[in-house]
């Protein structure tokens, strides 16, 4: 399986990352991508910027574990995860997850699974800058619920949809 993980301050290219997955194998029939961007509004605040911190070493290990678990659960051929750190502005890209598989069903599920766990199980912390000052964000209950769905079995893991 192709696996690419990058944590960086610099912007990334969705097109070149997607192409990199596609070029890995002729067996890939579909690539699902998720792009997270900085909103200009969050919980009543006009967001002016975001600062992202991580734990070098541990964050990478946690993401590798998330990708490995996704690869064990679904028949995927390629996974790319890019996460930005440092200072970001509204509309900047924060995170990219791309999953290639033979059929779309498994790529959709694996991509969503990876994002749910990136939100709750990878050592990143966001600090939001707004007109009211700055504040460290807290984990959202909905994000925890989203990740727990995969444990409780409320999401099927054997979705096999042809392209």
């Amino acid at each position: 399986m192709f696996f690419r993980l990058v944590i960086q301050e610099e912007p990334f290219s969705v097109q070149s990352e997607t192409t990199r997955i596609r070029d890995f194998s002729d067996k890939i029939g579909g690539i699902v991508t998720f792009l997270g961007v900085v909103r200009d509004f969050n919980e009543g605040n006009d967001v002016q910027g975001l600062f992202l911190e991580h734990y070098p070493g541990m964050t990478e290990k946690q993401i590798e574990e998330i990708a490995r678990a996704a690869g064990d659960r679904w028949n995927v051929l390629g996974i790319t995860i890019i996460h930005r750190i440092g200072n970001l502005s509204p509309n900047d890209e924060i995170v990219f997850v791309g999953v290639g598989s033979a059929h779309r069903g498994e790529a959709f599920l694996a991509c969503e699974y990876i994002m749910d766990y990136l939100k709750t199980n990878a050592a990143f912390w966001k600090k939001e800058e707004s007109v009211h000052g700055s504040r460290w964000l807290v984990t959202r209950e909905n994000d925890l619920k989203a990740a727990n769905r995969w444990i409780s079995g409320s999401v099927s893991s054997d979705n096999e949809v042809d392209n």
Binding site: G36, L52, E53, H54, Y55, G57, M58, K61, H83, I94, V95, M115, L118, K119, T120, N121, A122, A123, F124, W125, K126, K127, W136, L137, V138, T139, D143
Partner: protein
């Protein structure tokens, strides 16, 4: 020595990202927090014992009773908010 790392609001509120303290007499995470409170000040104990604070030893999440050895890297941080 034990290497202690702080992240996010803990790093800011305690104005420290990394410190090293002698491993002597420190058997587990709770013990380390007590030593930090003694050597660095009450604010450390107050924040590190706070609700929802996570701790890792050598980059693996653990509970307060997890043992610590000389040379370990111990990190304290709030719940994560990435993605």
């Amino acid at each position: 020595m034990i290497r202690v790392l702080l992240f996010s609001r803990l790093r800011e509120e305690l104005n420290s990202s990394v410190i090293e303290i002698p491993a002597c007499g420190i058997s587990n995470v709770s013990c380390l927090v007590e030593k930090l409170e003694d050597s660095q000040g009450k604010a450390w104990g107050c924040l590190l014992k706070g609700e929802n604070i996570l701790v890792s030893v050598n980059q693996i999440l653990v509970h307060d009773d997890h043992y610590i050895n000389d040379g370990d890297e111990v990190a304290f941080f709030p719940p994560v908010t990435g993605g």
